[in-house]
Subunit: 194 residues, 2 copies
Amino acid sequence: MQRREASYKQPRIFTISNEISPASRNRRGRAAIRAACYSRVRMNASGTDFEFMKAALEEARVAGEGQEVPIGAVVVVEGAIVARAGNRTITDCDPTGHAEIVALREAARKIGNHRLTGATLYVTIEPCAMCAGAMIQARIARLVYGADDPRAGAVRSCFSVLDHESLNHRVEVTAGVLADESLESLRAFFAARR
Amino acid sequence: MQRREASYKQPRIFTISNEISPASRNRRGRAAIRAACYSRVRMNASGTDFEFMKAALEEARVAGEGQEVPIGAVVVVEGAIVARAGNRTITDCDPTGHAEIVALREAARKIGNHRLTGATLYVTIEPCAMCAGAMIQARIARLVYGADDPRAGAVRSCFSVLDHESLNHRVEVTAGVLADESLESLRAFFAARR
């Protein structure tokens, strides 16, 4: 957690567009686009983004009470939450039981389609490779997350899973929404376990 | 499928060691190690590897009969299969229902632990980011796969999810085992759908 705290004193809200421009089809063009995204801080998170992130934080809180790592996620379709979950790895004895995976599976079951086209996933921390990959499989339209995860984040910290030139799907990303609250709950959880 | 066929006329069996050497902690050292792994073809797949891959191919065949993409996986612990699965994305209405995920979840349930330390996962094609990420979460010891997937493979084709310097777990990888058989079943499946 020390590394997280040190790296993310000033959380920023930024967006990666989901448009596949001609420039994005070659490596140099994509690097330029990514650099532009990173350097420009765009406060484009809406009021509802904060409301849905609060719901994800509430799921994180409940997960932490159950001795799971306090991470929470909600899936929103047409302005309404269709699924919500916290981490359930230990509870369900399931290595894939991250909040995002549980929420995506639940949303697909409710909607009756394994493609969640148009859905937005809110999660309190930058998704790992497994969860970012699941978002590609589910074809979600947008991801909103809180704090970056320098150790395992697969949106921009360790990998750029949502943004590979060979993938035929792009996910719009907004990061940094209520990042301090997310980090604080993780910090308190790990401090209590030391 | 055209691209796959063109790129993989001569499948090779190679291994990435799971040792974390000092050189692997910096980018240049890791690049050198990866280059060495790629240039050296090591025929270290054992007879049992071929047997277990045949079991995975059988799961792929059954999945294909159910109109799923014919990919199969088995999880082996101490020389015995503890879980086997084919793709179930459509059958279960589950965006995460890839063969690897289904098999890992089943293995964890049977063993009663979400960490599958010492397990080997056999899968007919190079795992995507979601599935490779799940292998990190499950802490499996070894991955054996058949054909590479140039479009979405997350072991070496598009991403190197199992080999990132910030991850505290390494997975030993053997690739190219019965790759032709895997490609042939995928080729036949997609040809029939055209």
